[in-house]
């Protein structure tokens, strides 16, 4: 197993550094304090890593057993098309998540956890860099009319609100968002990376192993603080309550589920040898994994609250409480629950179905929105993203908008100038572009 390290051509590398100065201003602070928080860990390096010696034959689909493509020009046009869209979308999520995390990074209560998130942000920057490397290394002119520098420029100029995937367009309101996002949304990333590890396009496959190694830590950077929050809540501390954790899970899980794409789709990627699983199957596995996380958090809470319990006893007590019994003062409402998979969805099969967080059904949008008042974080309901959802739901109920129109309006779907006209992966843009601060406006990356 060997890993090849490369950097982007100078002008792109420098564009990423300029982007970093605007959106990751704590980068130098991270590097200066690296040894304090991560002693003996290899210091972070902004570069692309490619794993050598991976499987050289297509692993699924119509071309199974044939040699993998080393260049985009060796791919069937349909595959190249899909891949180009996927790389851009992936790049957009990597850069997008840094823009979200930076909003609330400074609010962390614990320095250790703050540094975990900061390291994770630097690694997301590297992931974005890795995707730009795939764009810059190859010739995509058969599927994109735009020059490489335009495509890269386009990616680096996206702001929260204009990213390709919904979850990356939602602002963070507190440090709880930072950690829950890592635990839930980076987990979707892990699935995507794992699936792309078999990609029929070898440069993509070779990019995955190092990204997956980094992703393993991102999940821990989310899950460990969540476990600590649950413990502190059980001991009566008054910082992050179980209710806040629950509401934050309710905010992000639906977006995570939607990142797998429509439940009916994904067959094309399998046929083209780009991914081994259809959307619904990957989404199901993801949901089960988050169920395990929720159960672990409940067990952690229970053991911290009822200190005399053994491990075996706590499992049994948890089941009794979840079945509705109150045990030594602990009620079902004190614990976390897994939001129903149809809850608060706006894309895919359950879009706008008005399913409650615990599977309740609602028949009027008014009642459903009242339910959302009880189960979503207050700060999130004051956001643009939530208002768009509520407006769309009411329009669907009034019959002034079809389900399809409502789904595709989240946020408003519109081609933007410069996007490849033949691309199916259209950029999402809000009607009014998000305000750009003076410093951000100067971050025009690729000159």
């Amino acid at each position: 197993m060997s890993v090849k390290t490369t950097t982007l051509p100078k002008k792109y590398h420098e564009a990423v550094l300029r982007w970093k100065d605007v959106f990751l201003p704590d980068y130098d602070f991270l590097i200066e304090n690296w040894d304090k928080h991560f002693p003996n860990d290899q210091t972070f390096q902004l570069c692309a890593y490619r794993e050598m010696g991976m499987c050289a034959e297509v692993e699924c689909g119509d071309m199974k057993g044939k040699p993998k493509a080393k260049k985009a020009s060796e791919l069937p046009e349909e595959s190249a098309h899909h891949l180009f869209g996927a790389i851009r979308a992936q790049a957009s999520t990597e850069f997008g998540s840094i823009q979200q995390h930076r909003l609330t990074l400074a609010r962390a209560q614990e320095e250790e956890e703050q540094f975990w998130i900061l390291r994770m942000m630097a690694e997301e920057l590297r992931h974005g860099y890795q995707m730009l490397h795939l764009l810059a290394e190859d010739d995509w002119s058969s599927v994109s009319k735009d020059s490489t520098s335009d495509v890269i420029d386009d990616i680096l100029s996206m702001n929260t609100g204009s990213h390709v995937l919904g979850a990356f367009n939602i602002d963070f309101d507190s440090f709880v968002d930072n950690v829950v996002f890592c635990a839930l949304i980076d987990r979707v990333g892990k699935y995507q990376l794992q699936m792309q590890k078999i990609s029929a396009y070898q440069p993509m496959a070779e990019s995955m192993p190092q990204m997956l190694r980094e992703e393993a830590f991102h999940l821990a950077a989310g899950v460990v603080p969540m476990r600590r929050f649950a413990t502190a809540a059980a001991k009566g501390e008054t910082f992050v309550t179980m209710e806040v954790l629950q509401k934050t899970i309710n905010k992000w899980l639906p977006r995570g589920l939607e990142m797998f794409g429509d439940e009916r789709g994904g067959g094309t990627n399998v046929r083209l040898g780009l991914k081994p699983m259809k959307n619904a199957e990957a989404q199901r596995q993801y949901y089960r994994e988050v169920e395990k996380l929720v159960r672990d958090l409940n067990l952690r809470y229970l053991r911290a609250r009822l200190e005399n319990l053994t491990h075996g006893e706590s499992e049994a007590v948890l089941d009794r409480i979840l079945a509705g019994e109150t045990v030594e003062g602990v009620r079902r409402e004190d614990l976390l629950h897994m939001p129903h998979a149809d809850f608060f969805r706006r894309r895919g099969m359950p879009a706008f179905k008005m399913t409650g967080s615990q599977g309740e059904t609602f028949t009027s949008a008014h009642d459903y929105l009242q339910h959302l008042v009880r189960v979503l974080p207050e700060s999130y309901r004051a956001s643009r993203d939530y208002k768009d959802y509520a407006d769309a739901l009411l329009a669907v109920e009034a019959g002034t908008m079809t389900l399809e129109q409502a789904s595709s309006r989240m946020p408003a779907l519109r081609r933007v100038a410069g996007a490849c006209p033949c691309s199916k992966s259209v950029r999402w843009v809000q009607d009014e572009p998000a305000a750009v601060t003076a410093s951000e406006a100067t971050a025009q990356p690729v000159a």
């Binding site: 197993m1 860990d41 393993a216 395990k292 067990l299 952690r300 491990h311």
Partner: protein
């Protein structure tokens, strides 16, 4: 992911294994130490998640082995695999789970360029672990730990 004896699956460690590892440690040591494992597992995951493995039986973790490849320490210039923490659920001992875990981790160390693997065992207190490593072909090394009370 290696498919080994029927029903046993060896796979890389992940962050959702914390609870099961805490439970195994509690069975072995009699102490409930979630904070210790939260930090430990975070450490191994950020170093190299594939250098640490768990054994799953029916979806439940029955054993774990945490380690990493390091070089440039103790005069050992070449990359060396280190097995640092291990445990098999007492209910599943003697079923070659420890052996399967070691085989998987050693294979990964080899891939990472290590030519040898080392561990440290307290001969007085950890007779079982000593026998285990001996059965796996480990031999006492000439390198000795030195210690001084402070």
């Amino acid at each position: 992911m290696t498919e080994t004896t029927p029903g046993v699956r060896i796979r890389p460690l992940d962050e959702l294994d914390i609870s099961d590892i805490v439970a195994i440690d509690e069975k072995i040591s009699g102490r409930y130490r979630p904070e210790v494992w939260e930090r430990q597992i975070g450490y191994y995951l950020r170093r190299d998640p594939e250098s640490s493995v768990v054994a799953e039986i029916d979806g439940k973790v029955a054993g774990f082995m945490l380690g990493e490849v390091r070089s440039g320490e103790f005069g050992l210039e070449e990359p060396t695999g280190w097995i640092e923490v291990l445990g098999v659920d007492p209910a599943y001992r003697g079923k070659a789970i420890g052996r399967h875990l070691a085989e998987a981790i050693l294979e990964h160390f080899r891939q990472r360029g290590a030519h040898s693997v080392r561990t440290l065992v307290d001969e007085e207190k950890q007779g079982d672990i000593r026998s285990f490593f001996t059965a796996l072909g480990f031999e006492p090394s000439t390198m000795r730990p030195f210690v001084k009370t402070l």
